[in-house]
Symmetry: C2
């Protein structure tokens, strides 16, 4: 593929008709807001890029793909042999590219941009004297129409034994905030917020069990749900009115609102425009479902422990099988991932993977979000370092685990040092206690310090929030060195996943999910002290550990963790796996 | 003193004349911006409060003092027996107090509020339907006139052998930024920024060697310096015009500016009003001197090492003397502080203390900013925990060190555990390496984790920036769990001072100053890796360490640090002190 490729040519023809000499195509992770098939698949269609976050720019004679650190290597590979210019995803680089291309009029589909994103684009265009043209119709719509089907699976209710709290009670709680804010309604754009609020789920998107739709929460607790009636016909929710998506604009007009709450990070620039055109006062603020959704209730917590036990059984069966099989040769990344999935689905409780498994050997492991495929399916052999990052969706919860193992149980000393430093960071975070008010940003240094000490680091966040039978990535909590996130609150589930990646050689990541618990201790300023409970249950490969680098506290943590893994899982394992686990969990 | 005290009565009489039923009196640390004698001394005068940060509110029948966590205990003691209501310093509490007092019109002296502070007050008054009245004359001016003398010491040039970079070169560098911002001038309100920019110092304020004045940097590198000519008469700086402070308004009018840069955190609301009234476009941004001032140049760094060596000699002489004397009894907090000062001034290079020494025994040590005085001068006895936080001003640099020692060399086990956890945090920070881009906020957890582990914490920042023969507290860098500060940059000097305070029992703090150095290593994303060089040289009391709580890396750090202290200081010590130091620095 080159940029003279027919798809680009066809797009440029439409661009000429629309009188634009630039077209900007965002691609966000679907859970961040409005979902749109062109939105999600456009970068794959045009650029062949399969990552989950990026921004494409097509000008008269150039094509740019902006991606973040996770995708640097992958984007390079997926666009190899083309003229596509890959660069880091930031607004300075987008501005530079627009200026260098001499763009005069930039076309944009405002449905695809959150208000925040649009304002950033507007600011950089203002500075560069570029005119923005909001397009009535996305140019990709006609190009991709044959390839894209709008998902329309039935939405279903998540029973109370999983949801834990009734939708009426959730809505009542959020409505109190609407009253405090003095607004009559809040537009809910994020698919997972809507799923949480109504206790419904769907299968419109792989791995992400939501029903693509949006709606308006009214201050009296009523909900106007814009969803295709084919998807909602079996549902009858109290105080929820089902309306066709096409009626959104007329409904908002009919409501005659004075004041509405909108989250500029998830609500589209188009909805903002609509409210402004109707003279509705906009109170901007974070999606009101986000925080309560992140703080799991007692039912969700109890179930999360169960889901992680089931998931741990599958992982142990896989790791045992892998340790017996992989060093013999002949196994590939794809076949290993398939085998892992076969262990997960042995348990009928496991519904689907929570994301595409990353099964990566050697240098492929240095791509944080590598996806093995028929064309890039490397063979695993003894002496390799193998990284597998996978998860499952259960009605009881969402899992996400990464293990890195030495194929054949041996590895060079320098890789063991890398692994042990990653492990030290993982343990420092797992052992951390901290008072209420502390954010993930404050804890991030704990996970990185052992790597920093050796002049090493990793180019992704240390932790992301995880939903409850929802998205494997959710906010507002995170553990990061580039943002701080919100204060960690009891009930939040978050990943603990430091790593280290050496391009062309190997990748290491150790990922467990942890739950924020209240210790019952009270610290300074009468603030409660929190700690992490590690939910994920699976052994960490001891053959990659350089024991001399661990101090006593670290050894004690590892031994206690392995003891707990064994106690919780052994009775559910096959005899051979149980024996393997006994040795994998023996104290160091 | 009660709130019916004559000063309050007199103030309320003026308030009636001014038609206000509330008067708000801020008290910031002088280095934050404009200095004003009423500003600095008002809270002491009215409330008897001697701390360095607070906000007073006087209503018709109540008086409130808002202070931060450092001053909770001190404010309680200093206002004991009065009706003054002490509360945490935040804008919610100020709003609550104004509402509860039924205030209708709040008087404010806009000279005393930075623009940022004023906007916050304005917002909370708007919400509470309170009118703000900007007072033409501060009501305290007439009340305090007899007690206050406006400082007027001569300003003097700091020779290049200390400043390191010529003022012309500094101004040229900042002027490039003025050009980028498209402004014709920047108002320099912060006394230390002005001192740094012009390479001048003064003695207007104890401990803080600045000459109180402000000025305007012009885009051509010229500087209009508003300073009393009695203070500046010996000075003749190239391209610097000296003007009387009273001509500020007319000068700004005469300049006929179109666009000016103002820092809303340090420039007063009054100056903002003046510029607005003259239709000058305001470009808001951080004080442009702040960042380059924080990144010490090679001369300042070389000299800082020297100043810390001299200071370390004084501290060692003191600690040796203290270890021989204190356990015998009869020594008091004040006499110990005087003795420490006498050791410092033995070196003629030491000009003055960099702040009032905190010399605190037992429960007094639990007040982070305790100041012993004739009325609260506790006697030190064997078995006590003694905390001493002090520093010196040298032309070569500013020092700040805290040591906590067990009088008589013994302490209960629980206090040793507290001390050792503080030490573990101190060491974790001292050993930290981190890539460029990391802020103090990201590192803060390293210093607190060993305390958090036991459900403990401390209610102050872990680190503050330190000037070069300037303020012992400077921005923009910090290490804190309540703010993040800027990315740490090579050349910055910052304190490493975790602590632990048990009210009514004891206080512990271990403070060294550290310098951010480039390791020469390059990490991910081609970012340089930085590390801290500990500048402060003095032994840490081993009799307070529970060695079993330290891991090997921590023991190694402590032993290496003590070895360095001994190597650098021994030859400058008296024989008795040299012998004492040998034992104090012996490996554990």
């Amino acid at each position: 593929m080159t940029i003279k490729d027919s798809k680009f040519l066809a797009l440029r023809t439409i661009m000429q008709t629309e009188n634009i000499d630039g077209f900007l195509l965002p691609h966000g992770e679907a859970y961040n807001g409005d979902y749109n098939p062109f939105y999600v698949e456009g970068l794959q269609y045009l650029f062949g890029f399969s990552g989950s976050l990026g921004m494409g720019l097509i000008t008269n004679d150039k094509a740019f793909l902006f991606i973040d650190g996770r995708y640097t290597i992958q984007a390079k590979q997926e666009t190899a042999g083309t003229d596509i210019i890959c660069d880091s995803y930031n607004y300075d680089n987008i501005a530079k590219a627009l200026t260098n291309a001499g763009t005069k009029t930039l076309g944009i589909d405002k449905q695809l941009f959150s208000e925040n994103q649009f304002i950033k684009i507007q600011n950089l265009c203002d500075k560069a004297n570029i005119t923005i043209r909001a397009l009535a119709k996305n140019p990709l719509a006609s190009l991709m129409s044959d390839e894209v089907k709008i998902p329309a699976t039935p939405a279903f209710e998540l029973p109370l034994e999983y949801a834990g709290v009734r939708t009426e009670d959730k809505r009542k709680h959020i409505c109190e905030q609407l009253k405090t804010l003095g607004v009559e309604a809040s537009f809910i754009a994020a698919a997972d917020s809507l799923a949480w609020l109504l206790n419904i789920r769907g299968n419109d998107v792989p791995h992400f069990p939501v029903s693509l739709s949006n709606g308006i929460l009214l201050a009296d607790g009523g909900f106007l749900w814009f969803i295709d009636d084919k998807k909602s016909q079996t549902l009858d929710l109290d105080n929820v009115e089902i309306l066709p998506p096409a009626s959104l604009e007329s409904t908002i007009k009919r409501l005659n609102l004075r004041k509405i709450h909108l989250d500029p990070a998830s609500v589209s620039a188009e909805i903002f425009d609509l409210c402004r055109s109707l003279n509705i006062d906009i109170v901007q603020g974070v999606d009101l479902c986000q925080f309560p959704k992140a703080c799991k209730n007692s039912t969700e917590i109890k179930n999360a422990r169960l889901a992680h036990e089931w998931d741990g059984v599958a992982i142990c069966e896989f790791l045992c099988w892998f340790s017996e099989t992989a060093h013999l040769g002949g196994l590939s990344e794809v076949s290993a991932a398939e085998q892992l999935w076969s262990f997960r689905v042995k348990n009928p409780k496991c519904i689907e993977p929570s994301f595409d498994t990353i099964s990566a050997v050697g240098a492929n492991g240095a791509q944080c979000h590598y996806r093995a495929s028929a064309t890039s399916d490397s063979v695993i052999k003894s002496g390799d370092i193998y990284l597998v990052d996978s998860g499952g969706q259960y009605l009881e919860g969402t899992t996400d685990i990464t293990r890195t193992v030495a194929v054949g149980g041996v590895a060079p000393d320098f890789i063991k040092e890398h692994f042990t430093r990653v492990l030290k960071g993982h343990i420092a975070l797992a052992r951390a206690r901290f008072p209420r008010g502390i954010t993930g940003g404050h804890l991030d240094g704990l996970a990185r310090a052992p790597l920093w000490e050796a002049g090493l680091d990793f180019a992704h966040g240390t932790g992301h929030g995880v939903g409850s039978y929802l998205s494997v990535h959710e906010g507002p909590q995170n553990i990061s060195s580039s943002s701080y996130g919100v204060a960690l609150e009891a009930g939040m589930i978050i990943s603990n996943e430091p790593g280290y990646y050496q391009e062309g050689s190997h990748g290491i990541r150790i990922e467990n999910l942890v739950l924020v618990n209240d210790t019952g201790l009270i610290g300074e300023h009468a603030l409660p002290i929190y700690e992490f409970e590690t939910l994920t249950l699976a052994p960490i490969d001891k053959s990659l550990i350089k024991v001399s680098l661990l101090n006593e506290a670290e050894k004690n943590w590892l031994n206690a963790y392995h003891k707990r893994v064994q106690e919780r899982l052994s009775s559910s394992l096959r005899v051979a796996t149980r024996n393997w686990l006994e040795s994998a969990c023996a104290a160091i």
